[in-house]
């Protein structure tokens, strides 16, 4: 098998992992090649619009497990390949030197045993760090069930570790990934959290959940994320719209991946981490899924219209970030600028703050952007929805029908 054929197989089977982030590490160049970039750098964008920052590959797609949703499950008849540590190291170096990538994201199917697989991964990354003196970004997947001393060894070599939770509830996991169990993943996260330092996973840890393979609601998913952020100080929870690759009686048969739902979850996830929202602000038992036509923040604001419009020159930072269309950057600009002058609508524009959504929810120096009779729920809702392009709405309606049937 040529190197190119191997790469084709092992990139193809790694592509479902959503994470490609290269941020959070400021690793310096120590007498070799490469360094970290704290904000991360995107090197390309694939035709699905996702950023390519890291060489995202599996060491092997051979696997002793038979997880129902996974393309690499034991019972599937697919082409299998294994990279040697030297092959991975040399491709990484060749790509990095030409500025194709920011580093490596190494994951793997399970060969023989979790420990054996981890040892091979460690060998690969050790080679990169010590023979090739590579100081670029490395993200490695922890194989659930591997011994603690191996996780420790790996954590000291990489910038980020992750272990995938895969499904938001234990039921889902038992149904679709009978060989995995969530307590093992939790143990890994606990261990990485305890150990994290400047030399051990400086860019922290992350995880991923598949969306739409089992029948959990958005509320279930978000509650899981929220508890993961609280318990393990995760940097990110990634959501991956379920793509049907296998046939199984326990799996939904869907043609289009639930991309809009994935998008809403990312928006909500952001609100939890940077906007001081709690899960209970966004969803409730009676209404456990997101509105497909409105983003979670606009949806929240419309349900709490009595708190608006907010005076830009008086609202606190925390009130500002809860206004649709205003994020932490804009809120900081507003808070620091208004000490020096009274902010008008034209000033917001100058500051580069988009008024497209915000204008319905704010007052500048006591003034509303239009006649004050426009401040009505129906008017604002319609305008916010209409802002989306007609084509988009069509697509979303399709998706929402699809959810109802799910």
């Amino acid at each position: 098998m040529t190197l190119k054929e191997k790469l084709e197989i092992l990139a193809d089977s790694a592509k479902y992992d959503a994470s490609c982030s290269s941020s959070g590490s400021s690793r310096e160049n120590k007498n070799g090649i490469g360094n970290g970039s704290i904000s991360g750098i995107c090197h390309s964008f694939s035709s699905d619009g996702r950023c390519i920052s890291l060489l995202k590959i599996l060491m092997t797609n051979c696997c002793i497990y038979n997880c129902k949703y996974c393309i690499n499950r034991k019972s599937n008849q697919v082409k299998r390949a294994i990279f040697t540590p030297e092959e991975i190291a040399s491709i990484t170096m060749n790509f990095y030197k030409r500025n194709y990538i920011e580093g490596l994201f190494l994951s793997s199917g399970i060969l023989k045993s979790p420990d054996y697989t981890m040892e091979k991964m460690i060998e690969t990354i050790y080679l990169l760090r010590n023979k090739y003196h590579f100081n670029g970004y490395i993200h490695a997947k922890v194989i659930p069930g591997a011994s603690e001393y191996l996780i420790q060894k790996l954590g000291l070599l990489v910038d980020r570790l992750s272990a995938n939770i895969e499904l938001p509830t234990e039921n889902g996991l038992t149904l679709l990934a009978p060989d995995k169990n969530s307590s093992k993943v939790a143990e890994i996260m606990e261990y990485v959290k305890k150990k994290k330092s400047k030399v051990f996973t400086p860019a922290g840890q992350s995880t991923q959940m598949i969306i739409g393979a089992t029948n959990e609601t958005d509320l279930d998913i978000l509650e899981k994320s929220s508890s993961l952020y609280d318990s393990y100080k995760l940097k990110r929870v990634f959501y991956s719209a379920y793509i049907s690759v296998n046939k199984d009686k326990n799996l939904p048969t869907i043609k289009i991946p639930p991309l809009k739902r994935e998008n809403r979850l990312y928006q909500a996830d952001w609100l939890l981490r940077y906007y001081n929202f709690k899960v209970k602000d966004l969803l409730e038992k009676e209404n456990p899924n997101f509105n497909i036509l409105l983003d979670p923040k606009a949806d929240w604001a419309l349900r709490h219209l009595d708190e608006f419009p907010k005076e830009i020159n008086k609202a606190s930072y925390y009130e500002l970030v809860k206004i649709p269309g205003i994020g932490p950057t804009s809120a900081k600009k507003i808070v620091s600028s208004r000490k020096f002058f009274t902010i008008q609508f034209s000033d917001l524009k100058k500051m580069g703050i988009s008024l497209k959504r915000a204008k319905y929810f704010i007052l500048c120096d006591g003034k509303y952007f239009a006649n004050s009779s426009c401040f009505r729920k129906s008017f604002i809702t319609n305008n916010l929805i209409l802002e989306e392009k007609p084509k988009e709405i069509e697509k979303r309606t399709q998706l929402s029908l699809f959810y109802d049937g799910n």
Partner: protein, 254 residues
């Protein structure tokens, strides 16, 4: 006599521009225009004032917030017409408002300077990702790019930290200038001062093919979204991005 409404010339370098602007501020002169000497076209009614040299900039520099000078430098790198005057007013106001200057968005010069700075650093950030090196047989790395703003220096410093043990050359095709790194120092030259004869070998083509394979494989067909791809990686970059070259050749954009 208060001398206002004159056109002042400078030699096109950052150092000389700062020298001139500090001198203008000290002498309380308000320029009508500040123009690069080479680009100046004489008119009947306008008597330009030749570049100021040996102006003492030290005491003024001490009073100037460092952040303001950094922003002004990014504006200087931009392709904005009249950027010199924006820098003049921005620095003049920086003396008055000190560190608070960046919040004074209601002043036109501050707003413009900050917007331009953002544009320049965004473009530089994009190219830090999109630049593609080719390696020659004798392990020399070579890359070309096209940019609206003069970001060669920013890119060179980035790669000096990242690839300190390589020999490389980065060329700005728009300005016909280049930077050579010899494992130690950066050398900035004009393209015409150097004849480059690069031979790309079979091994290089193989590595490029490997990358293109990865690029195509990593996309999820069920999620195809070329519009989103193009939002993040606009067409103007394609001709310099290895994996997009084929798409660029085929597109009607050329």
């Amino acid at each position: 006599m208060m001398e206002t409404n004159f056109t002042y010339l400078y030699d096109g370098t950052w150092e000389n521009l700062i020298e001139l602007i500090f001198w203008l501020i000290k002498e309380k002169r308000k320029p009508l225009e500040i123009i690069e000497e080479e680009k100046y076209e004489p008119t009947l009614f306008n008597m330009p004032i030749k570049p100021i040299r040996n102006g003492n900039t030290k005491d003024m520099e001490k009073r100037m917030p460092r952040e303001s000078l950094r922003i002004a430098y990014y504006v200087f790198l931009s392709n904005k017409k009249n950027k010199e005057l924006i820098i003049y007013y921005f620095l003049l106001n920086s003396l008055k408002y000190q560190h608070q200057i960046i919040y004074m968005r209601n002043l036109k010069c501050v707003n413009e300077a900050l917007n331009i700075q953002k544009r320049v650093s965004r473009e530089a950030h994009k190219w830090k990702g999109f630049l593609r090196f080719k390696e020659t047989k004798n392990h020399f790395l070579y890359a070309e790019f096209n940019a609206d703003n003069n970001i060669l220096g920013i890119l060179a410093k980035h790669f000096q930290k990242r690839l300190p043990k390589e020999y490389w050359l980065i060329k700005d095709q728009t300005r016909d200038i280049l930077c050579i790194y010899d494992q130690k120092n950066l050398h900035f030259l004009e393209s015409k001062d150097l004849t480059i004869n690069l031979k790309i070998e079979k091994e290089e083509i193989e590595t490029e093919e490997l990358w293109k394979t990865f690029f195509q494989t990593i996309a999820i067909k069920e999620r195809l979204n070329r519009k989103c791809q193009q939002n993040f990686m606009p067409k103007k970059y394609w001709q310099n991005i290895l994996e997009m070259e084929d798409t660029y050749e085929k597109s009607d954009y050329r």
